[in-house]
């Protein structure tokens, strides 16, 4: 399962050149600032925009030299647009039926009939996106979040082998984003391969298994999240909201103190992080985000003298430039192998004589469960 891309666009003042192979499973986040070409790339993959070069999905050539590009409606894709794109002359049910009736058209090619293991039933899709009560309504009667959920359901009912999402949350306010993100995470669990375009670090941290970073039409970073997270170009390694994303698994739940212990699941780490218990089950997978600004450094073991539960002995690996001259970012490696970022003032760093190689205690004041 893979998506092989070798595409280039040259237009007035804009160039895009992408030559890469994206995994055909999991969620690949295409991340980049405005104008970096991420939406153009997605539109080219869908066939909505022309680019020279080739696209090959699971050994099916969609576009290539000496070949007429496969028409958009013949590509086994689903596409969720940034803004609500429901057909206004049809009810929600009508919109869903539109996609369902045409699902076979897009997937009857013999080469692809066999590997559609992630097909979902209509009822499952409607339930997964929680749109049962909306079916009889007209699109005009829906909120922005509801429209986007229907649009996602519609794309899924088309039984795509690849779901393309172009900043599906960008047009929504924060509350609506929070309303939809859990549905996207459910989608992830159903193993539908997704390409997700966004410029939001929050969405990136929550959804990405794999990352493709674009800047000015060029790929600046690419790879599985665990492999790219320590590159300087990694979006979460800079900016006000710098931090780390860690995949973890719930080890045990302390009913008395209502704390859950989450064991970090990276190749090297054996650390455990205490979390507020949110009805976790043992072995449940959770993704944690620890912001650099939520990590303080202490020279001595603070566990006896501070209220912070999560204190890890660490070695400072590297000093990174921060966005403000008063502060500095340190990349830390805990003795048990967890990578963390900590933001401290330059003054504190000087007073504690912090430099690469220093032994410190990282005090993690808060952990976000994504």
């Amino acid at each position: 399962m893979s998506l092989q891309l070798d595409l280039s666009i040259v237009r007035d003042g804009f160039e895009l050149a992408v030559n890469t192979c994206l995994p055909g499973d999991g969620t690949t986040v295409i991340f980049g600032p405005s104008g970096s070409g991420k939406t153009s790339l997605l539109r080219c993959i869908a066939g909505l925009e022309n680019a020279s070069g080739s696209i090959c999905f699971n050994d099916q050539p969609w576009q290539g030299p000496g070949q007429k590009p496969l028409a958009v409606h013949k590509r086994p894709i689903g596409y969720v647009f940034q803004e609500a794109s429901l057909f206004e002359h049809l009810s929600v049910q009508g919109n869903l039926d539109f996609a369902r009736k045409r699902a076979a058209v897009a997937t009857t090619t013999p080469a692809t009939a066999g590997n559609n293991s992630h097909h979902l039933g209509t009822a499952n899709i409607i339930a997964m996106l929680g749109i049962e009560p909306l079916l009889q309504r007209a699109p005009q009667q829906l909120s922005g979040g509801e429209r986007q959920r229907v649009a996602i359901a519609r794309a899924l009912l088309n039984q795509p082998q690849l779901l393309l999402l172009d900043e599906p949350l960008a047009a929504l306010d924060d509350a609506r984003k929070e309303e939809i993100l859990p549905y996207l995470e459910r989608l992830k669990r159903h193993q539908i391969p997704m390409l997700y375009v966004t410029h939001s670090k929050a969405e990136l941290s929550r959804l990405a298994d794999h990352l493709l970073c674009l800047d000015q039409g060029k790929v600046v970073l690419q790879g599985p999240m665990s492999a790219v997270c320590d590159a300087p170009e990694f979006p979460l390694n800079s900016g006000e909201d710098a931090g780390v994303v860690l995949d973890a698994r719930i080890d045990n739940v302390d009913e008395h103190w209502q704390l859950a212990s989450a064991r970090i699941q990276t190749a090297t780490s054996t650390d455990c992080i205490a979390l507020r218990n949110m009805h976790y089950r043992p072995q449940q997978a959770v993704r944690l985000r620890i912001m650099a600004s939520d990590v303080s450094l202490a020279a001595d073991n603070p566990s006896q003298s501070s209220s912070v539960n999560n204190c890890l002995p660490c070695t400072i690996a590297m000093e990174l430039a921060d966005s403000h001259p008063a502060t500095v970012l340190f990349e830390l490696h805990s003795h048990a192998g967890t990578r963390l970022l900590a933001r401290v003032t330059r003054k504190s760093a000087h007073q504690l004589a912090l430099k690469p190689g220093s032994q410190v205690w990282a005090m993690i004041k808060s952990v976000a469960v994504l």
Partner: protein
């Protein structure tokens, strides 16, 4: 103030002409308007100018050129001779042909506007959902541009009914064949039969008023189509595919 048999014939002929022309125009203008509204190019500008010519040209000029074209030395005349068909000039078919040109802008323009207001997005959505070109037209464009089609049909019909100069040039004044209502009124006035002219004129006046009333009153009853068009237009222009909207200062709520 009654209608004579000749008046009724003229009205019937007008109705037949306008209906034929409107139906043909809706068919012919759809692909033309789809092409014209799908982008900007030099060839489109030229075609658009040609289509709009009847708006500014005196009908007699259009009629004159049509008459020349249909004559024995004109291209249309040559064609009908080669095909052993009766000559087009002074015939109902010739009238239909001339009216097609004459009313073309009144049908193409509303359709163009409707397709432009719709934007590419519904087409793109339909394509990603597996709908081919014809499927896209019939299941998405056509229902979404229904108000545009209605306007185009009404305007095309009404404009053909109001035709006079072209008819006189091409059709002459043959009863039951080319004598439409507007020509009949002219005949009555020529014959100083003002009473008959009044009756027919009043009918046409009433008809035109009702048509315009229908057009202008429609947005109130069809509110949802107009508001949708406005929304679509706004969102499409502000979020064109290559321009990713940035929302730099956003903060996310965690946990």
């Amino acid at each position: 103030m009654g209608l004579s048999a000749a008046d009724i014939d003229a009205l019937w002929l007008t109705l037949k002409l306008a209906t034929t022309v409107t139906l043909l125009l809706l068919l012919l203008s759809t692909p033309l308007a789809l092409w014209l509204s799908s982008g900007h190019s030099r060839s489109r500008s030229v075609v658009q100018a040609v289509v709009a010519l009847p708006l500014v040209l005196p009908p007699s000029v259009l009629g004159f050129y049509m008459l020349i074209a249909m004559g024995p030395h004109g291209p249309l005349g040559w064609l009908t001779q080669q095909l052993n068909l009766p000559t087009l000039a002074f015939s109902f078919t010739g009238l239909v042909l001339a009216s097609l040109l004459y009313s073309l802008p009144f049908v193409v323009q509303p359709l163009c506007n409707a397709f432009r207001a719709l934007g590419q997005r519904p087409m793109e959505v339909a394509a990603t959902l597996g709908a081919g070109p014809f499927d896209r037209f019939f299941s998405v464009i056509l229902p979404l541009s229904k108000p545009g089609y209605l306007t185009a049909a009404v305007l095309g019909f009404a404009h053909t009914v109001g035709e006079f100069g072209v008819v006189l040039m091409i059709g002459g004044n043959i009863e039951g064949e080319t004598r439409v209502a507007s020509v009949q009124i002219y005949d009555h006035v020529e014959a100083l039969d003002y009473a008959s002219a009044h009756t027919l004129s009043l009918l046409l006046l009433g008809f035109s008023f009702v048509v315009l009333l229908f057009l202008y009153a429609r947005p109130a009853s069809g509110k949802h189509s107009t508001s949708r068009v406005a929304q679509h237009d706004g969102s499409d222009s502000s979020r064109s595919p290559n321009h990713e909207s940035e929302n730099a200062a956003h903060k996310d709520n965690w946990l």
